[in-house]
Amino acid sequence: MSKTITLTFTLNGRQVRLETRPGTRVLDLLRGEMGLTAAKEGCGSGECGACAILVDGTAKLSCLMLAAQLEGREIVTAEGLGTVEHPHPIQASLAENGAVQCGYCTPGMTIAAAELLAHTPCPDRGEVREAISGNLCRCTGYVKIVDAVMAVSRTTGEKNS
């Protein structure tokens, strides 16, 4: 049980080297030892999406990942997308469009949306719904979340064109 391993990975743009037990859940590692609490625990079993993070650009559920899986990867949490002072466009858009109520699902939503927009800069509403369908939100009924992602996609789309 007490065997530890040393991991090296990138976390929110910074190189990290740490010792931990290989079986530690990534969610606990982030929220505990690393002090990054944006990823939330809503179910602990892969059903809600609140714990989502980007692993090499792909949204993954950190409650289902073990520490050893981080080796050599590039990890981005919602904190790594942006801050209050410099929010990521999707974070700003969710806040501006009334898509944040209790906000507990929101960091996970930002991860799902960021992944979508990275691959599909101008999605339609159906594609947005599909992309966030692994992220449960109990407060909003999703409409404003979809609106918020569409608003960003339009901005990005304009920039791209």
Partner: protein
């Protein structure tokens, strides 16, 4: 026109508040893990009804890192929790009454040690026969959940009536009847119940909890554990959702007990999702028999209804929920003669509790369904039948209380009936693709606001001018995501004519903030908002009076507040707020005021059993339209359109109303089509999010919201509460739509594909 939509600074604040959530910077109670804290967890019974012989904990005590294992014998005080009726043990000692009952509390240095210790606690017990149906529980030979309770398994019976329903029913030209059921429903707030606690060196029990009622929690904990309530300090940061599930003790008493035994160290408790399913409160399952009598042209005359609420083994808020259910049995309609009887019954099922719509969801489902039966019998359009009978201002509801103006039942119905999805439904249905059938349904609803008579619905607000000339609002009611916190800033900013960015909001803290009731009953913005507006008025007067001293003005009333200053327009001179803040002593910079919600002045002579929460004086109104498409091959139902209209007084913040309505409608849609909380013999069959499904983004259409403007003279800037009214529509509207599409008679929800296929095969449901 909204008072706020022109207030761009208000929008900025809203942005700041939500942005910190969006970037993951906001700290919920679940994010508060002090270094070196202990972890507490609970061993749950796992059997629905049993006599406890022993709780074997020796092995758990021996696990390395375990600091204490506590059982009933370690609980000081009464060991009884509950909001009104205190019948729920903190730790069960002699009897287990439902599978989620806690039998031991473990505290450990790490989560691993905690999990290991919990796994090796063994409950030795003698199973007892259980009772799982509220009606069967009332039979004379039913096993008793609380053998010493005088009325057997009957927790409470209530009767609300008006006129002479029996006689009026006999005289009716048309009488329809039916039996309907609504299931237990799980809140699934994304943040499960959790908190942290410690004993300070001064003997104060300090807690940070995800709670809807920080002020009330102190008394609940104190009663259960024999403490002085004033030696308990509770802080409630933003909640990650609650919907009623955090109204009443979840972790509170257990966590407090753990802290009492942990020598001043912080202790954390986090319920997992499955534990929340097992031990958390559920919407009460209800069975309702209802008879409705009318004239041949569809004017309602008489209503008789009987409701059975499954309370589970503890009262929690069951009696108060039943009171609201009976009060709404007649829905948003004018019915001269009524008799509504209710039974709230103990069983060995999970514990029933508060959930958005608080007894009204059940009642509205039954009355709306029977209205559909009546419409079919009379060959009337279901919308027209509703409109014909909808309550108008001044008319009495089914409990005999006259509707104060505004009362927008008709306007809400008219709004959804004018929507193309209703007006053009024939054409839309005719265009159904191959192997699909379409249907459209409509429903009306209302929802009382506030606690009702018997318990003062009160709040006190504190507002401070800081030394820098900004303002601190000491918020007393938790924000569980409904947005009252930013609404308070908007109210205060508007009242004091200041930019919203000048306001800081202190989240509920029983040491710093003044007492207020819970965050529930669609009351927070109304009650605390009114208190806050009064405190703002006191602040305005004070600022003007103090500024007059500086400006040497002997008629302070000619001074006025402007952004950042108090100005004298006659002379063009002004005093910056920062100067006032720097000059005044702290006592003088604080303004405090309170508000108590009015109650019905001459309450009708009925519902005497209900000491708390009956009747209500204010109601919000709603109407809902749902369009569904059914797959003939699979029986799958797709919700294609859901339009909700609400009347909730003046609309100050249209987006805030939309947010609440869309969220509520989504929960209503879940209830209609997918949220099946199944139990068998007291055991939960759908114990996690892979078996209890709530709507995802792919299960819902773009939920639409329309508002009907009212103006509630007693409300802060004319508003009423509206957190709940949007949840009622989808279940009955979807039910009607399925009748329309495939002839299915829906008597209970959620509707499953099998039900639809049976109807398609022409089988009677």
């Amino acid at each position: 026109m909204s008072a706020f939509s022109s207030n761009s600074s208000g929008q900025r604040f809203h942005h700041r508040d939500t942005l910190s959530k969006a970037v993951g910077a906001e700290r919920y109670s679940t994010d508060f893990t002090p270094p070196g804290c202990l972890w507490a967890g609970v061993k749950r019974a796992g059997v629905p009804h049993a006599r406890i012989i022993a709780v074997h904990s020796e092995e758990a005590r021996a696990v390395q890192g375990v600091t204490s294992v506590l059982t009933r014998a370690d609980v000081p005080g009464t060991n009884r929790q509950g909001i009104v009726h205190k019948d729920q043990p903190v730790l069960a000692g002699s009897v287990v009454r439902h599978a989620g009952d806690p039998v031991a509390l473990v505290v450990a240095e790490s989560r691993e040690a905690l999990a290991e210790a919990l796994a090796c606690i063994r409950l030795e017990c003698e199973p007892l026969p259980g009772i799982f149906d509220p009606e069967l529980a009332l039979k004379p030979d039913a096993p008793l959940v609380h053998p010493d309770w005088e009325t057997g398994n009957l927790l409470a019976r209530g009767l609300v009536d008006k006129g002479d329903a029996q006689q009026a029913m006999q005289a009716c030209e048309v009488v329809v009847e039916g039996e309907f059921e609504t299931p237990m429903q799980e809140h699934v707030s994304l943040e499960p119940p959790n908190g942290a606690a410690r004993m300070t060196a001064k003997g104060v029990l300090e807690m940070i909890v995800s709670t809807q009622a920080p002020f009330r929690d102190r008394f609940e904990i104190a009663h259960a554990l024999g403490l002085n309530p004033m030696s308990i300090r509770i802080r409630a940061p933003y909640l990650g959702g609650a919907f009623g599930g955090k109204d009443g003790a979840t972790v509170q008493c257990l966590l407090a007990l753990a802290a009492l035994k942990s020598g001043g160290r912080w202790v954390r408790m986090d319920w997992g999702r499955e534990e929340t399913f097992l031990a958390g409160y559920k919407r009460h399952a209800a069975r309702m028999r209802i008879r409705l009598g009318a004239t041949r042209d569809g004017v309602l005359q008489a209503l008789e209804s009987t409701m059975y609420f499954d309370s589970g083994p503890y009262a929690h808020l069951g009696v108060e929920i039943m009171a609201l259910g009976l009060e709404h049995s007649g829905g948003a309609y004018r019915i001269p003669h009524t008799r509504m009887e209710g039974f709230c019954v103990y069983t060995n099922n999970p514990v029933g509790g508060a959930f958005r719509g608080f007894g009204v969801v059940q009642a509205i489902f039954a009355i709306e369904r029977i209205m559909d039966v009546l419409a079919a019998r009379l060959h009337m359009d279901p919308g027209e039948l509703r409109l014909k009978n909808a309550l108008r201002p001044g008319e009495q509801n089914c409990a005999g209380v006259a509707m104060q103006s505004p009362s927008g039942a008709c306007e809400c119905l008219e709004t959804v009936m004018a929507h193309p999805a209703w007006a053009d439904r024939m054409a839309w249905k005719a265009k159904a693709p191959p192997f699909k059938r379409r249907g459209v349904g409509i429903a009306a609803s209302c929802n009382a606001m506030g606690y009702g008579r018997g318990l003062p619905d009160a709040a006190a607000a504190k507002l401070e001018l800081t030394r820098e000339g900004n303002f601190k609002i000491f918020n007393s009611v938790a924000d569980m995501g409904q947005g009252n916190a930013p609404a308070f800033v908007q109210l205060a900013a508007t009242a004091l004519k200041q930019e919203a960015s000048r306001f800081e909001l202190v989240q509920p803290d029983t040491r710093l903030c003044l007492p207020a009731g819970s965050s529930s009953a669609s009351r927070t913005t109304y009650t605390f908002g009114n208190a806050l507006l009064r405190a703002c008025e006191a602040m305005r007067e004070k600022l003007i009076a103090r500024a007059a001293l500086f400006l040497l003005v002997d008629e302070p009333n000619r001074l006025c507040l402007k952004p950042g200053e108090v100005a004298d327009e006659a002379t063009g001179r002004s005093v910056p707020l920062s100067m006032l803040g720097a000059m005044l002593q702290r006592d003088d910079r604080i303004c405090v005021d309170q508000f108590v919600m009015p109650v019905v002045e001459n309450p009708p002579d009925t519902g005497k059993e209900f000491k708390l929460g009956f009747p209500h004086v204010f109601f919000s109104h709603g109407a809902c339209l749902c369009a569904v498409e059914v797959d003939e091959l699979t029986g799958q139902v797709e919700l294609k359109e859901c339009v909700t209209a609400v009347e909730c007084g003046r609309v100050l913040n249209p987006r805030g109303v939309e947010q609440q309505v869309q969220g509520a409608a989504a929960q209503g849609a879940g209830l209609a089509l997918m949220e099946k909380f199944s139990t068998q013999g007291g055991r939960i069959l759908s114990g996690d999010l892979s078996t209890y499904l709530i709507p995802t983004a792919l299960d819902l259409p773009d939920l639409e919201c329309a508002t009907v403007d009212g103006d509630e003279p007693s409300g802060p800037l004319g508003l009423k509460g509206m957190g709940e009214v949007g949840i009622h529509g989808p279940a009955p509207a979807v039910a009607q739509a399925l009748g329309d599409a495939v002839g299915l008679t829906v008597r209970s929800v959620p509707v499953e594909p099998e039900d639809v296929l049976r109807a398609l095969r022409g089988e009677k449901s």
